[in-house]
Point group: C2
Chain length 578, copies 2
């Protein structure tokens, strides 16, 4: 851990942003609790996300349970494919990510994509030892370990349930209802903010690789043939793009507008480009330092098998680039899987402007031929012929047609199939939407914002540490202090505190120690404004309002103070204009 990481962990624990869960019992790796400052900071980031990606975009929001039944993850592929490679030390029993050991000890860069057997061979070949106790791991089995937390629903043997590895499946599985609420009109977006879980083999790096984390995911369902995003709204937003090509050929991050990125084909999918344009000012709004930010395209080998393209928003913290958001095209992969596994309809019916006449192949097999020929299999042969006619009507062009039933080929004379072409009128068609998914890691954003807003300067010759959090995001909006707790100043300050709280402002009251120390305490947790009640207050009903970043102070009337502070918080008023 570098200096920045150590400094962050220290501040986070000391001032209550986050700390290891259940430290009284030794803690448990990969689980963190957000303390009084951190929980509110996280709430505020979530509220800003909801404002931008749900309310302003006009999308819907849902909330599904963290525990889902096995069938959901059988369909999604997580039950089979959501694995990491595990090797256990025969001596000390420590478990390790086998692919990470190989990557650390060799030139291999993507051991994750290799087979467990190949990774095991590399461990033996390079004499890789247990990082915990130094014993050789050669010959130890490398196994796939499923990263979902499993539990049992109901008494007795019950039924298997899993803590969801992504909030997205809670949306996909409910698509039939959701389409109904959207009145079957594409495009529509469905968002969810909630927890997801990965039973990491070896969690590390504070909030970055944890076993329980909060996601803010948006699944935007679009008609791949027709729908276009409103690019004009974001065309001029500048994106720092680090394309796959640049990564592969020693190129650099390029600054392109959304319009240019589409024009030059750097971002191939318009919907992805649109969301990069929406997201960029939002990162800045919550306090990300855009000089330590980039969009990195996935390399071909990194892409999930269902994804045509994916860009990660990455933030630089502690010398590493952290994936804070993934912007992916998931095509119709998930909806198709749930349709296949559940037998339900995961499409929308798209009405044509006018009904159209289409030709449709029909089959009406002559059972007096098929019966004697195929016996008990005749019914299945007839079904196979119907299915073939839909799939491939040209197969009926010759004298005979062959279908397979239970691995046996059956040949039928075309004249016995009753094949024909019928003209029918169709009022519309079933469309399986494609999915554009911006998926945000809330904890990683909180961690980034803490790192990027950490500032030091000199005030009256002394070094000062402060968090330059945007007022909208800061856990406390205003500190209220009596200059001293005597001569009625305390009571007056308590009145101000109560009035500000009644206006819905987050207030910290502090009457302990010198005023300078009280300012420092609020500076360190990012409180943007402090109000001091002094002897003048008793005479003229004004207070001092002090700005965190400039440390400037202004005299303001108590009357109207709640409204003034709300305007400062909401960005409707600048401190300089006070």
């Amino acid at each position: 851990m570098t200096e920045e990481g150590a400094r962050l962990s220290e501040l986070a624990k000391r001032r209550g942003f986050f700390f290891r869960t259940a430290a009284a019992y030794g803690g448990v790796a990969g689980f963190y609790t957000y303390g009084p400052q951190g929980a509110t900071l996280k709430d505020n980031v979530e509220a800003a996300w909801r404002d931008r990606f749900v309310t302003r975009e006009g999308h819907m929001e849902v909330s599904s349970p963290d525990v889902m039944p096995e069938a959901v993850f059988e369909a999604s592929g997580h039950l089979d494919g959501f694995d990491d490679m595990l090797v256990d030390c025969p001596e000390c029993g420590a478990s390790h990510r086998a692919d990470h050991l190989v990557e650390d000890a060799t030139d291999v860069a993507d051991a994750e994509s290799m087979s467990p057997q190949a990774v095991g061979e590399l461990i033996a070949e390079h004499d890789i030892a247990c990082p915990a106790c130094g014993v050789a791991l050669a010959g130890e089995p490398v196994e796939e370990f499923n990263l979902m937390f499993e539990t049992t629903i109901g008494p007795g043997s019950g039924s298997a349930g899993y803590l969801r590895p992504e909030t997205a499946q809670g949306i996909f599985v409910e698509f039939p209802q959701l389409a109904e609420y959207a009145r079957n009109q594409l495009p529509f977006g469905v968002a969810q903010i909630g927890d997801a879980y990965r039973n990491e083999i070896s969690p590390r790096k504070g909030l970055v690789r944890v076993r329980a984390f909060t996601q803010a995911e948006l699944e935007h369902f679009v008609d791949p043939e027709e729908d276009e995003p409103p690019i004009e709204r974001v065309a001029d937003v500048t994106l720092p793009l680090y394309s796959a090509q640049a990564q592969q050929h020693g190129g650099e991050v390029r600054e392109l507008t959304v319009g240019e990125a589409i024009e030059e084909g750097v971002v191939a999918n318009d919907w992805i480009a649109y969301y990069l344009g929406v997201a960029t000012p939002w990162y800045e709004r919550i306090g990300v330092d855009m000089d330590r930010f980039r969009y990195r395209q996935h390399l071909p080998g990194e892409l999930a098998h269902y994804a045509a393209d994916c860009w990660d928003a990455e933030t630089e913290v502690d010398g590493d680039w952290i994936e804070a958001t993934g912007f992916a095209t998931r095509a119709d992969y998930d909806l198709a899987k749930h349709a296949e596994h559940s037998g339900e309809d995961y499409s929308v019916f798209k009405q044509y402007d006018e009904p159209i006449a289409v030709e449709r192949p029909t089959v009406d097999p002559d059972m007096s031929v098929l019966g004697p020929e195929f016996g008990g299999a005749a019914g299945e042969v007839a079904d196979a012929l119907r299915s073939l006619a839909e799939r491939d009507p040209d197969a009926f062009d010759g004298q005979e047609v062959t279908v397979e039933v239970d691995d046996t080929a059956h040949t039928v004379p075309v004249e016995a199939t009753g094949f024909g072409i019928e003209e029918v009128t169709e009022s519309g068609e079933h469309v399986r939407p494609h999915v554009i998914e911006p998926s945000f890691g809330v904890g990683r954003l909180v961690y980034t914002v803490l790192a990027h807003c950490y500032e030091t300067d000199l005030v009256d010759g002394d070094e000062r540490t402060y968090l330059a959090l945007p007022p909208e995001i800061a856990p406390t909006t205003v500190g209220v202090f009596p200059l001293m707790d005597k001569d009625g100043l305390g009571e007056r300050a308590r009145d101000v505190e109560r009035e500000l709280r009644a206006a819905g402002l987050a207030v910290a009251y502090d009457d302990s120690g010198a005023i300078g120390r009280r300012y420092r305490r609020q500076d360190e947790v990012g409180t943007p404004f402090c109000v001091t009640v002094d002897y003048d207050t008793l005479d003229d009903h004004t207070v001092t309002v002090r700005d965190r970043d400039s440390t400037d102070q202004k005299r303001v009337a108590i009357e109207g103070l709640p409204g003034t502070l709300r305007s400062l918080r909401d960005g409707d008023l600048a401190f300089a204009d006070l």
Copy 2:
């Protein structure tokens, strides 16, 4: 289910408030997904709770993970005591709550408090049969079933983790840190909104008895000797109180102010009385019908073993009284348990105003006596003497003193113990706070509000159904309609939609069908205001704003419309004054 319950379920599913999770796979009992209307309604209830019970009270908020390690629940008592009684049918395999079967079939009212054996005997005695298949259950074992969902953290045998049965333990276990953030000053409150889990044997009743649910809990840590709540702020609030005494002696609900309830001793704990006073107007604020609301005191047999008193806020829905909030005194039970199990300090150090002199017994045993006398046990005897002197200095009044070490009594002449009284100066003392806990079930409140806000009336001779949700809570604040989608009305309405969304308002756009039908759609999901763009709009830049409850309409200028609608939503402006 009565008419109200059936009507609610139908509305909830059809309009997307909530529905069974993963219905495509047959669903899984006790798990619900909040749909597009419900998730936002739930968010809004949580935001109103945070505003009232965190921000305005000046409490802290934390967010701990849903999965916690076993040690936490060993200490809290959930591992041993969080059970229901289970009986399995030998024929069909269905699992049942044994105590519920007995209560349904006999006069026994509190089978839950009986032993499994006694419940088993009642099943045999009353020939109780399986409700699913009718086979007799006599002789089947009745067993305790732990209601926590268990999982495994980490690979291999890993370590046991549990989905928390209440959010509270995520606060209690972190008390040492939390006290530090509160600078060791009592009283202070710590809140958490999050999910909790009960692996119910037979979940039922929609959102009322589910396996995953959201709690909003506040743990208020107070010095039991000194701290008093600010009763004056709520003294005049009227509480509908259904005391234990009234329940036991055929009494009724009594309407008493907070002040009267304390004066008459109906509510014995002032902190409980304070929170009943804070909560009452809040229930009304979120849309609870206070004519279908009461506070019911727990009967002596109902109380948790650690609770001195408990009052439930109950709401009447579908003919049943639902527990929507518990207001309990948990004393120092949880903190004492965590101190005992973890060995950490779960107290705060209370500084005296001035240091005080106290007498403290000391022991300085003469080892030249104890050594020869007790041999290897001499050291332990000396420790036992020290401990006894602290506990019971009077034991050293006689000639001899006796201590036990490993079940053996050892007698020592007092003069060999070096017993004496020393005067020391103490600057303060360790205090273990007591806990006052208002614990809200968010889903039950959402369910209540849907039921209580469901209204019907006649509009133009037709029956209309609408949800009279308070504007602050309604999922959508404003519907925007073009009178028709032609002559530029659609474009103008889209402009209005965009402007309102940019102001952070939750907007639904609808251009489909007759205006009357569009009003009905919004009425049914509780949208308080609708804006219609018509031909006059193109001339004079005004729109029609329509009020849901009165169906009154007013003409309002587009300029300033976002601010007007925000004021209507926030209660700063009444529609009648528009």
